[in-house]
């Protein structure tokens, strides 16, 4: 009898030991990743010190970030702060430095075998960015607050992306306090996380909705202002255009016409169109992007009219409006935007390469062609003439958006310009936004768009 009970006890001990092994395995399989990332885990930094963090380069191989003796340096100071982010022992990591941390560390992760005793080298990250273009975009915006995004509409590759104000990741610790306190929020990457009323650039979407409903033959009686639902909407500068067609209304950015158009199309049509373009969808890209918002409900005609011309509660990131231009340029198809082109190991062997990927179909090819035509005319004979370039057909749309500050004082509008070129076979789509700049999209943003397109198609 005692022998049987000794065996029972042995079985109990055996079960206890198996539970140890089971729990250990569970730890390694399901908890290890979380534990490795814990901010209390000193290993993170200790291991990183053993690895020379990989470089970040533009698509041609211009070095944008590199590590030497554990020090991370950014040769172009502020220029890439809102793309690459920072890598600081004190303040942590942000943007690409954070998103691609494992890759930059050579995916050794924690652990791994070091046989040679040499310092391990991380993988190098090649971006889709064109350094020359980035430089032009960066300098064109200058000291103004705003953003410029340039994308290859056929592949989704982001060619340049500027957000201002910015900061210098090389001197983060010296200026951290002032960066955090600064009311201009220099740490906010405006291109991807800034949300603004899109203004008249949204009329591209309203047009697509109207074309779906065959409203292109409507003629509008434009007296410079119109009363909808008890509220008066005026054109920019209260200009009266008389009897105008849909095409002409687009080129001149007639608010009167687009308000009627929006009300005729109806809220549901506007909303579904906006959502086809990516509004109200949480972006899932290889870099963090805020969700652009189109209101979920609107009852009054006045509200719908405001939405049709890009006002009301619609909010979009500059990246989102660049994607709108991409949709028109690429026959209605939006390609998923990408910042990373590929990654190589230290011997130059590619270990990761991103591929063009379709994000969504925003509209039909017919709509895209129709709107392209209207956008080309906007630049040749409408509001966007400031973006005209000799020998290149530019298609564009301006925008001037009212915001919380324009209620109090004039000349604080956000100004917009979205464009792509060459219109026959688009290679680049651009969105430029300057916040609280006043003026018009054409006068303020037009020249920046022109600089960017000219540089890229040079």
């Amino acid at each position: 009898m005692t022998d049987k009970r000794i065996i029972n006890i042995l079985i109990v001990i055996c079960i206890l030991f198996m539970s140890l092994i089971g729990y250990l395995t569970y730890l390694e399989l399901f908890e290890a990743e979380e534990l490795a990332k814990s901010p209390y885990n000193q290993r993170q930094w200790a291991y990183e010190e053993d690895i020379e963090r990989g470089m970040i380069l533009d698509k041609e191989g211009v070095i944008l970030a590199q590590s030497k003796d554990g020090e991370r340096t950014y040769p172009y100071d502020n220029m890439y702060s809102h793309i690459i982010g920072y890598n600081s022992r004190i303040y942590g990591k942000s943007l690409l430095e954070s998103k691609y941390n494992q890759l930059l560390l050579g995916q050794y992760g924690l652990g791994g075998l070091n046989i040679t005793g040499n310092k391990k080298k991380g993988y190098n990250l090649y971006l889709t960015i064109d350094h020359n273009l980035q430089k032009v975009a960066y300098n064109s915006i200058g000291n103004r607050n705003g953003s410029a995004v340039a994308i290859n509409p056929k592949t989704g590759e982001i060619l340049a992306m500027v957000s201002k104000p910015d900061f210098n990741p090389n001197t983060l610790s010296e200026q951290w306090e002032s960066l955090v306190d600064n009311e201009n929020s220099p740490l906010l990457p405006r291109a991807t996380s800034g949300l603004y009323a899109p203004g008249s650039t949204f009329k591209i979407l309203t047009s697509s909705a109207a074309l779906d409903l065959n409203l292109q033959d409507m003629v509008f009686e434009d007296k410079g202002s119109i009363e909808i639902g008890g509220k008066t909407v005026s054109n920019s500068g209260s200009k009266a255009y008389g009897n105008i067609t849909f095409d002409r209304a687009f080129q001149l950015s007639s608010n009167v016409a687009f308000c009627s158009l929006g009300v005729t199309a109806g809220f549901d049509k506007l909303k579904s169109t906006a959502e086809n373009f990516g509004f109200n969808k949480e972006p899932d890209y290889d870099f963090p992007v805020a969700k652009s918002i189109f209101p979920l409900s609107a009852k009054e005609d006045a509200e719908i009219a405001a939405l049709a011309m890009g006002q009301g509660n619609t909010l979009a990131t500059p990246l989102q409006m660049a994607l709108v231009a991409c949709a028109v340029a690429n026959d209605g198809v939006i390609m998923e935007p990408r910042l990373v082109s590929h990654a190589t190991n230290n011997s130059g062997v590619t270990i990761l390469a991103t591929k063009p990927k379709q994000q969504s179909v925003a509209m039909s090819k017919e709509n895209a062609d129709y709107i392209t035509d209207m956008m080309v005319k906007t630049v040749t004979q409408g509001t966007g003439t400031s973006a005209m370039i000799n020998g290149i057909t530019v298609a564009g749309k301006t925008g001037t958006a009212e915001n919380e500050q324009t209620v109090m004082q004039k000349n604080k509008e956000h100004t917009w310009f979205v464009a792509f070129a060459p219109a026959e076979d688009p290679e680049i789509a651009v969105a430029v936004m300057l916040e609280y700049s006043g003026g018009s999209g054409a006068s303020v943003c037009g020249p920046i768009v022109r600089n960017i397109i000219r540089e890229y198609l040079r």
């Binding site: 009898m1 005692t2 022998d3 009970r5 000794i6 065996i7 029972n8 006890i9 042995l10 001990i13 055996c14 206890l16 030991f17 539970s19 140890l20 092994i21 729990y23 250990l24 395995t25 730890l27 390694e28 908890e31 290890a32 534990l35 490795a36 814990s38 209390y40 885990n41 000193q42 290993r43 200790a46 291991y47 924690l110 652990g111 791994g112 075998l113 070091n114």
Partner: protein, 404 residues
Amino acid sequence: MKALKKPIILLLITTVMAFALLFFYRTPMDVNILYIGGSVMLISAITYFAIVYFKLGDEYLFLIVSMLVVLGTLMLCRINYTYGIKQILWYLISVSAFYLSFFIYKYVKMLNKMGTFYFILGVILFIATLLFGTRSGGAKNWIRAGILSVQPSEFIKLLYIFFLASYFSGKRDKLVFGKIKEKYAILFCVYMYLGFLVLQREWGIAVLFFVIYIAMEYIFEHDLMLILCNFLLAGLGGGVGYLTMYHIQVRVATWLNPWADVSKTGYQIAQSLFAISSGGFFGSGLGLGKPEYIPAVHTDFIFSAICEELGLFGGVAIILLFFIFTYRGAKISLKLPEGFDKCIAAGITVMFGIQTFIILGGVIKLIPLTGITLPFISYGGSSLLSSFIALGVLQALSGREVEK
């Protein structure tokens, strides 16, 4: 090729490789490491051949333990070189104690009649600890005598098993003081020990003592009602302890969520988890991890260091070695006829098995952490010495089974 199949060869190869690795890893290279490795190897080999040649019983027990000691000293040398050297010295002393206890147990015939003596000696050691003990890491469990530090509870553990074995192999029908049944008197003694351990805040050993008693009661007396009452009593005691004692609350709280106070009470277990998880399946490799981040890594947390540098597979290997050891122990107990020897073998086996589970479960956060050493691996003379004494007894018992 046939020679390679002998487990001693595996042990020797492991030892050679481990210490060679350590030798080349350390810069500047230190020849002493080779001497240390060599002496560990020599001691293991001589003892093993003595056991085989003189037919001193089970030849695997000592092999398993040698493997554990090699891994332990290797890890200690890597964590702290001086600890490693001291541990080797203790290993030398412990192996002598192993021989000593082996022969004492083999030739002294009255060990089963000294139950009262074991009990009283245990009580004396407890009182001495309370009077002269120094506090270390929350528990008051060390007695300093000159350069030596002794942890009496490690030895009381053995006395306790001998005491219980004397009782369970005895007649068990006596009435103590004329009216109390002996089993209740024993129960009183057990709880007295537990009381001492609680006073010293040795929670881990208290749990161990309790489980040993329950296991032996289950095997040799099988009074299930009494066991049930004990569990109720222990549950009650634990509940009251939890409500009244801050230290127990902290331990339970850090077990449930070490992240709540990760900078203080949860620090140790958090560091242990970081170490274990960073090792992955194959470990960072010897000397390439950062086990020094864990406080008390050389004693209670040595298993976490092993998991970090030798990986999950290294850790599982240790667990399996302990399991084979427990299995051999149980087998020895099974082969012995009813009586004192059988009780001792079962008690020691349960002791090693449960102690291993308590500390390993603690450092991986499977159960609340209670400070207790990992037999044969943790740094510390008392622990190593008492473990080898127990091993000596087990060895002698395995020989008895052969004689039968």
